[in-house]
Amino acid sequence: MKRKYLSYLLLMVVAGLWSCKSEDSVFEQTADERLNASLASYQKQLVDAQYGWKGAIYPATGGVYSFYFKFNDQNRVVMYSDFDKTSAVTAKESSYRLKAIQSPSLLFDTYSYIHVLADPDGSINGGNYGEGLKSDFEFSFNPDTLNTANITLTGLKNATKLILTKATQEESVAYGNGGLGKSLLFSNIDLYQTYFKRITVGGVTYDLNVNTEDRTITFTWLEGTVRKTFTTSYYYGSLGVTFVTPLVNGSQTINGFTNLTWDADKLALGLTAGSTNLTVAGAARPVSADLTAAKRWWQFALDKGSYWISETGFTVAGKEDFFGVRSIPNFYYMLFFPAIASSQGTSYDAFTAYDGSGLMGPAVVPTFSTDGRVTFSVLGTYGTNQLMNTTVLAQVEDASGYYIIQKSEIKYDMVSAKDGRTWISWWYPF
């Protein structure tokens, strides 16, 4: 009997203890303790960077923008931005805080340069109505980004990427001295009156094609007889322009351009590439023509049964719409319509202006040469517009012909082979 009691007792004790087994926790600390520790740690890292941070932001609509941030422990941050000439040289103070929103996050909680990208008012940043550039100002820290060389963050609304890299003392001082403003001088490359811009680094001659709006740069060069190209995004910093992907050509690596200068009288851009100090030179012809670009351009519109347009006409020596086609009443755009019709068995293209009701200007027959140029011979004219049928016609039928440079799937530039100082930019809007 006693043994029975004993075994019952044992059973009860064991059952009792077992039912009391508390859940094993994977962590030693509670979730809140870990969260608070995490926030404190990020805060410390942000503030402790003695010379501040360089930030590169990649908004959803494309491109990359660079910032300089200096955080203090009073929830204040000072910023510079490469968005425009003013934000590049004028420090702006605003506030920030760290908050636990699902995961530890950095909030820029009063308006400053970083918000310009996200502003839904398209007139402020050239973005879409109601969306802006689809950027962010609230970012969550990527997991495991603590205690690495960079801090990577992801925007909460549009998953914008923000990468923070510690600035050096030299960079930090340069921001304070208007260094970012000097780097913005690089965008003056748009003021060159020749289409082709050339630099020679390490014995290699490169053509530069810069899109200052999208902030991309394309290098073209010859390796023997082979045409090579390389494209990268770039962003501005206090010491110069940095390529997101460096150009690596054999033993030569170009990370960006520094020491930018601009001579407004000579329209000349000076820079240092690699270890070479140079001035960007204008050139009349490409270092290496894209031999099939002209045919591709022509065929693209033909395949679509449609046409290319240019809202600004010919640019000559840096002057947009040099011939003044925009003054034609109700001018919509200039257009190029391949194989629009035929006359007596000869197919022709329209290289004209369009005013919503009719075409004005030359009808042309194209000839594609083996060196990549296209030349136009005039077959006849549409309409009776004097400007289009004489002045513009003369330009169109220039015997030197045109090189065609592809900028994107739907953008091509047509550059006069005579001197590289006359061109027209076509794009496909449909």
């Binding site: 029975k4 009860m12 004790v13 508390s22 809140d32 929103i101 909680d109 996200a118 008012d121 969306e131």
Partner: protein, 306 residues
């Protein structure tokens, strides 16, 4: 098989229950450690001090100017925070053009009882397909003011009266508009008001008519023509912000002739005057407020800001 309810069995049952029941409960966490509990904290600055002294301490009103994504009901909208340089001028405007006239006219007890206690600011407007949202009110407790970054008030640098005074008036009107809703949600306006504009309301179509067309039908604005409640509060806020002379001027500027809907000029003017009379009467009977006196005070405050 019959379970013999024996003494042993009962002991077993009892002790097991006791054991299970005596399990140590999870200790309640140290509540101080919960992140964000008790509100957000940041190092207080001059703006925070100004808000505390001029809005929170006297009127228990919070001005939430720092971005918080959860303050905005439409999380899909793209918004940006307010600029710091806007906060103090805006707070000052809220006091001068809204709080002070009501407190002076109706007393602090009245004002504090019905005033919304939270202002939330957005730097940008909320862009919608056809229009921009400039403000909203929630539950009589919170007012969201938008596009505050575009506001320039007299006394701020870059203020140009010709360009900016309308925005200032619109801002002040937004607050009075939302406050008007809160008041009529507590004490409803007279039923007769709904009959004055009967048959002429536009509903969702309101943004397709012009201000002149609206006034030709006896509505003070296009938005007023969207429905009874907004007609009511738009009438109130135009009376207060334009002042007596301004209101009269609007009525007298209604063009001669008949509106598209067949309302004559005389009819439109009579409708607006009837609406005015109903508003004045409502404030007297529902709240004991001399509306014309409130109007004088509010208009004077508005003039000082434009």
């Amino acid at each position: 098989m019959k379970i013999k309810i024996t003494f042993n069995y009962l002991i077993l049952l009892l002790v097991s229950t006791v054991f299970i029941g005596s399990c140590k409960e999870d200790k309640l966490q140290d509540v101080e450690n919960v992140s964000g509990l008790g509100g957000e904290t940041w190092v207080q600055g001059p703006i925070d001090k100004y808000i505390l002294d001029s809005l929170t301490t006297p009127f228990n009103i919070a001005m939430r100017y720092k971005w918080d994504p959860y303050e905005f009901s439409d999380i899909t909208a793209t918004l940006v925070p307010a600029k710091e340089e806007q906060i103090i001028p805006i707070s000052r405007t809220i006091r001068r053009a809204w709080i002070n006239p009501f407190v002076a006219q109706a007393g602090a007890v009245f004002f504090n009882k019905y005033s919304p206690k939270i202002f939330v600011l957005s730097g940008s407007a909320q862009f919608q397909y056809e229009s921009k949202v400039l403000g909203s009110a929630e539950g009589g407790r919170k007012i969201v003011l938008m596009e505050v970054n575009e506001l320039r008030i007299k006394g701020m640098p870059n203020y140009v009266s010709a360009r900016d005074s309308n925005n200032v008036k619109e801002f002040i009107r937004t607050i009075h508009h939302e406050y008007g809703h809160i008041l009529h949600q507590n004490i409803m306006y007279p039923v007769e008001f709904k009959t004055v504009g009967q048959g002429l309301y536009q509903g969702q179509n309101w943004f397709n008519i012009s201000e002149t067309e609206a006034r030709q039908d006896g509505f003070i604005t296009q938005y007023a023509s969207s429905g009874f409640d907004d007609d009511w509060v738009e009438t109130i806020c135009y009376l207060l912000i334009e002042g007596k002379a301004g209101w009269e001027k609007i009525i007298n500027s209604i063009p001669a002739g008949t509106s598209i809907n067949g309302t004559s000029q005389a009819d439109a003017q009579a409708k607006l005057r009837r609406k005015e009379a109903l508003v004045v009467n409502y404030f007297k009977t529902a709240w004991g407020i001399d509306f014309y006196s409130l109007q004088t005070k509010t208009r004077a405050a508005v003039v000082s800001l434009i």
